[in-house]
Amino acid sequence: MKKQLLLVILLGCLHNLFGQYVAIKEIDQSGNIRILNKLREPIDVNSQLSIQINRNVLLNDVGQKISSNGDPKINALLEILRTYKGLIEKMKSSIDQYQEVFKRNSTLEQQKDAVRTVSKDALAILNIFPEDSESGKRLEQAFKENELKSRRKDVFEVILSFLIAEMHTQEGRLHELLKESGFYFQLAAWISTDQGTKPVHLEGFDTLTQGEFYSYERNRLYLSPAQLEEFKQLNAFFETLDRSNAFNRFSELLLDHLSKVIDIDSIQIRINDLREEIKDMESTAISQKDMLIKRLDTLVEKIKLLDQTLKNLKQKYFVADGIASAGSKLEVLYEFEQDLIGLKNQLEEIGKITKTIITPDDIKKLGEAAKNVEKSLELLTSDVTESLKRLEERSVKAYKMAIYGREINTAALEVSKKVYKLTLDKIPESTMLDLNFTGKREPGDLIVIRAMLWKGDGKSPIQTETHSFPMMNALAHLHMSVAYAFAKPVAKGKNFEGGPLVSILYKFKSHNLAYRNFLDIGIGLHSAAYDFNNDDTPEFAGGVITSVFKDYLQFGWGFNFNAKQGYWFTGLRIPIQSTPVSLVSTANQ
């Protein structure tokens, strides 16, 4: 069995957390500290990251890699250090116990036990250093020096101190050998935003320039231009609406949007045209023509199924009762992801079928006319592929980003030439990354930190550890929202009255991306303009409000100061085409 050789550094070294090269903590703006255990974990957009290097893990890896190459000098040193570490740990523990026993009132038996234990451990160490050896002479010198001190140690403490000093000496020898064997270490960081990915400075590990100071504005107590536009659109949309038809109109709108991602009509038209083309084809291969039509009919069935799936999605997610009655909103959303994936699978299946409708054998038998059919099929395949691409890009990826944060190919990140290649004895113990100096950034952007162990001139590191941190507005904050509200005056006999609503909401602290991007509960105050008395003069109203689903659904209570009536209300933000949609981006449409 191959020997497992472990490398030990000093006692009291940094605690080896989870066997990782780096141990990272987040210090947020309120001063709270979170230990970041996972390789991917959301952090607040304005936090600082404290990065400690676990040198013993690093050297352990190096030691194992060297020992697996069978270098005898290093193997011997590693064995010595392993032995020393074991003895030091035992001796330290028994000295502590020995000193403790003689400080407090203990029995004679307890005292004898403590003395016996520490003496045995001391003898084990003395036996390693024969008197006539070099190390024996160093031990003798250690005792001599102890005598000259004003605060002298007892025999056990001298032996322990000597062994620790010997371990330092052997470590130094090991560092020299490791240096010769050409191992070195790099620590690099990047930030990924909408503007692209760029390296960021880590003190002690590179010569990159620190970024400009930029603190993300956490509390937004004003309406952005996009929100003002949304406000205008919401108002216009609802004012022209027959309110009894509001929810049908709303769900038609969403279905219309989803239809634009998957262009069912266009696909169906192409298939119909194709069918006609095949029927009209001049050819004596009647049975071949019939087979093509049969295959096409299979495709038609699949398209119908897809159409039905889209309509079912509308039923499931977009009618008012469906959203309101769902037990857990996050479960609804995760199920939505699965349904989108199901939709994608259906499209992929359709794409495969389109490619097999006409075969080379068919073209041989059907003649030249079949080539036009083949071209039409290619266009159909292309339509399906495009729909798939649109669906994936806008729905699934946008959804994943909302839950998991920005995804980038971290393996492809290039290490800047300004990042130091450090020999193992020169690695700083720690460094700090202040996000406020990484430049302009938004929630959803990503920080990547990578630790790399290299050997010699190798093209790629022999060991890599990558940590990714999606950024979010994690701390509690205030922000403003707009919606269109349907208010029900508390007086009996009164119907719903609609009107625009602006609210200022308190959002709770959360480091959960899925929560922040989908649920994001808010509580606060609102003001609105209604017309309870239907005199075409807006009335001022205000009250309390709760919002869920990232403010897309709001409800609360208020008081109409002009009409002097209280009311309950439900408010909606509608994903109108020109306004940002949290689940599906329309940016490229």
Binding site: A122, L126, E140, R152, D154, V158
Partner: protein, 127 residues
């Protein structure tokens, strides 16, 4: 740091004997150095340097006139049979139970610190 050496009086044999017997009954690790030679004095000094704090059990006992305490010395239990001739020992190490656990013989050279440390450690183990 306080010295942890008990030197038996040279001018009063009965006092020396009484003190010696008193310390034998204290359940300490005793490093007993015999005679008053330069080597003996240096051995006492070296042992004292590693005896530790006052509340720790390691103590050094110097008997400059070994004849004053020889009768008692011969009665100390010697389970390992380290002493055949009481002319030989320069120093002996007693465990907390009062057993002889190590013996440093008289010789030309002064015992090293490491040798004295080993004697103290053997007395602590008491096997």
């Amino acid at each position: 740091m306080a010295s942890k050496v008990i030197t038996l009086p040279v001018d009063d044999p009965s006092a020396a004997l009484a003190l010696f017997q008193e310390w034998l009954g204290k359940n300490k690790i005793l490093f007993i150095v015999l005679r008053d030679t330069a080597i003996a004095k240096n051995t006492v000094r070296k042992a004292d340097s590693m005896a530790g704090d006052i509340d720790h059990p390691l103590w050094v006992l110097h008997a400059p006139n070994e004849d004053d305490v020889m009768d008692i010395l011969k009665t100390i239990p010697d389970p390992k049979k380290l002493i055949i001739n009481w002319e030989k020992p320069l120093a002996i190490a007693l465990s907390m139970d009062g057993n002889i656990c190590d013996m440093i013989p008289r010789g030309e050279a002064e015992p090293t610190y490491a040798r004295i440390a080993r004697a103290l450690v053997n007395a602590g183990i008491n096997e």
